[in-house]
Amino acid sequence: MAPRETTMDNATTVGHVAHGHAHDEPHEELGFWRKYIFSLDHKVIGIQYAITGLLFLLFGFCLMMLMRYQLAYPGSPIPLIGGLFSPDKAPGGIMLPEFYNQLGAMHGTIMVFLGVVPLAVGGFGNFVMPLQIGAPDMAFPKLNMLSYWVYFMGGMTMLSSFFVPAGAANSGWTSYPPLSDIATMGQTIWLFGMVFLITSSLLGSVNFIVTIVQLRAKGLSFMRMPFFVWAQLVTAFLLLLAFPPLEAAGVLQLMDRLAGTSFFLPSGLVISGRPLEVAGGGNPLLWQHLFWFLAHPEVYVLVLPAMGIVSEVIANNTRKPLWGYRALVYSVIFLGFMSFVVWAHHMFMTGMGTAMSAFFQTTTMIISIPSVVILTALLLSLWGASIRFTTPMLFALAFLPMFGIGGLTGLPLGLAPPDIHLHDTYYVIAHFHYVVAPGTIFALFAGIYYWFPKATGRKMNDLLGQIHFWGSFICINSVFLPMFIQGLGGMNRRLYDGGMIYTHNAGLLKWNVMIAFAAWGLGLFQIPFIINFFASIKWGTVVDRNPWEATTLEWSAPSPPGHGNFLTEPIVYRGPYEYSVPGAAADFTPQFEPEKA
């Protein structure tokens, strides 16, 4: 694959350089493994992250397409592939509740920790960020490689859990004890997998922060950084400070499961009629606090890089500066800070007193303001633009209203009394999928179409891109809009039978069928993308350095950038989005273009 050829030749020298004693080292020719697998080049590692992440996204999606069949036709054998499952999962092709819960928990885990974050941070962050700040590579290339491989091991651990006795983790991605403490072996594997993933994220975030702070090119002051870099910086801090508590919680749960402690087990439990033989004295809510202390910031980890990508694409395709760059920067910093003090809005129903609920409702309302500011800024950026409806732009534009829906529906959830009705219903599912699926996933698609030329030197096909966009847009809305109706009607989430036994759900079941077909349609419309993705690597139209006529630094490097990224040391002369500058010859004035006296 084109970029690898060029990027990997002297990959390892980067590593040595990182440790300072490469000046006099001869360029040894590298074998396949060092070149393509254990590369130290941030671009290769970024691509490895991206592809692995995409494959996991696809896998997580496939799990969900299975679940949607069960929800649409409860208790009827899964057609075609139903026979492939072992009897302890789907005897005669009929999905068991155990298996449904495994699929649910693993869908959530995989999508969040193995799909979106690795693609958005590990993939785009690794590939684009150093280029955008004019750095030759990440600050610690060996660490960078390590974090990819630790992530990879975490992923494999998670996948392997499907094959252990009684299958994968089945207590939801939230893994609330006591259920998870007494759950089957898959939960232990899940915890080990999480420890891997958390370690990887921690290594990665240290690397990101140091790179952004230390390796910015000459003239690239913070207020000249592309918004995408800001988003990555804040994201890195969220990962760095929010993940360790979950690592601690994971260790505690492992102790409960393996060493027989009872950190999360109160005294006097009776499991299926028999008293549980443990010391007791634990506190189940403790896990929820430690989990959500990570998991709320985590949801902003899912969306901030997406916002960064969208800003880049919008600025480029409106041919004008972003509206209110400073407001964007301050908002994203504030957002990151606030995201550490809202977590218990996931716990209103655990019996919170007035004071604490007032606190968390207030912080939750406060945190919605910076999001409004960011969305407003992006929307106003369109005013006075000259919009090019390129494929990346379509996905980026779609992000705005989709995130709008997802975000706005967060407000009723953030107010405890309405949450009494909406908590744990499909309304919540619809809320966050609007932010993560038609929101983040669309933004990631935008990023792929936008930076693909930089990574491969070739452009992706536009027609296939448009088919992919319109198909996905229609299907994904048909999947998630009806869930608001179901949620308001009082249909609970995580129901194996799609809510059939409840009479108050009778009128809502019809939607399950429609959602299922929409989801499968969504799957079909990913095929043009997958074809486009791989075909364009070989046959896409060849492009030069700056096919989009963009202004940020990555476009001053060759496409694909060689080892060390830049042919001459990049110098920054101006802000990131100098488009349509009055009096300028072209409608874009790149950061790296010297002022002509």
Binding site: N101, L379, S381, T503
Partner: protein, 261 residues
């Protein structure tokens, strides 16, 4: 708006407040979304490359942004101070007194709701996990004098209409969640804790059947927290009755107990 949200019919005294709040928030959301959406669509058309070949460096002017943001903030503050926080306070502080409420102990387990009434003496009998057995899921100690008249049941709960119901909620094993959609009640049942829940049912099951024209309608207890492979079928029924019907039911139960001994 309320109608369009398609919430289940309300049947408790506080449901109105909560629904009103839900409605208000959704108005806010709708206004914002339609406002921005309209602007969004207009801009897409007005400033497409064809219509506006030369982009403007200066871009949007004026205070629209700031004012909308401030407006949103103000509305949210209003919702918090005048609706959300007070409404929540009534839920978690103003519990009815034991003597003027129907007091029920509800203990969740995988995958059923155990219902426990104190009986005539208004005192819950002693329970002990060592006594738990298939025919005594609560581990109720019948030798305890206060337990003699205790009424227990599984997955069915009877309450009189228009009288406060005070539920002492707990769980034997994992976390469940006690959800009563028509009552706008939801509360996690957490092992190791006994959590009070209260509401005043205002419509009997029979009335509701007539109102909805659904002869087999029931108020359903839904488990709203993943609690294992039987989570989806952890369903209970609440029968809201007139005071007399409820009294009749109590007497029946007492008679059965006597007969059993």
């Amino acid at each position: 708006m309320l109608h369009y949200l398609g919430l289940p019919a309300a049947a408790s005294s506080h449901a109105g407040d909560i629904d009103q709040m839900t409605v208000l928030v959704h108005w806010l959301m709708l206004v914002l979304f339609v406002g921005w959406g309209a602007f969004f669509l207009f801009v897409l058309v007005r400033f497409r490359r064809g219509a506006n070949p030369k982009a403007s460096y200066a871009g949007a002017k004026g205070k629209i942004a700031k004012s909308t943001e401030i407006a949103v903030a103000i509305v949210e503050v209003g919702l918090l101070l005048f609706y959300a926080i007070p409404a929540w306070a009534t839920r978690v502080t103003e519990f009815p007194a034991e003597n003027e409420a129907t007091v029920v102990r509800i203990v969740g387990e995988q995958f059923a709701w155990n219902v426990h009434y104190a009986g005539a003496d208004r005192q819950f009998g002693r329970t002990d996990i060592k006594l738990v057995s298939p025919d005594n899921p609560l581990g109720l100690d019948r030798t305890d004098p206060t337990a003699k008249d205790d009424i227990t049941d599984i997955n069915t709960m009877h309450v009189p209409v228009n009288r406060p119901v005070l539920v002492h909620l707990s769980s034997k094993d994992v976390i469940h969640s006690f959800g009563l959609y028509e009552m706008r009640v939801k509360q996690d049942a957490i092992p190791g804790l006994q959590i009070p829940v209260w509401f005043i049912p205002t419509v009997t099951t029979d009335e509701m059947r007539r109102n909805l024209g659904q002869p087999n309608f029931e108020y359903e207890i839904t488990c709203s927290q993943l609690c294992g492979l039987g989570h989806f079928r952890m369903r209970g029924v609440v029968t809201v009755q007139t005071a007399d019907d409820f009294q009749k039911w109590l007497d029946e139960q007492a008679r059965d107990l006597a007969a059993a001994r």
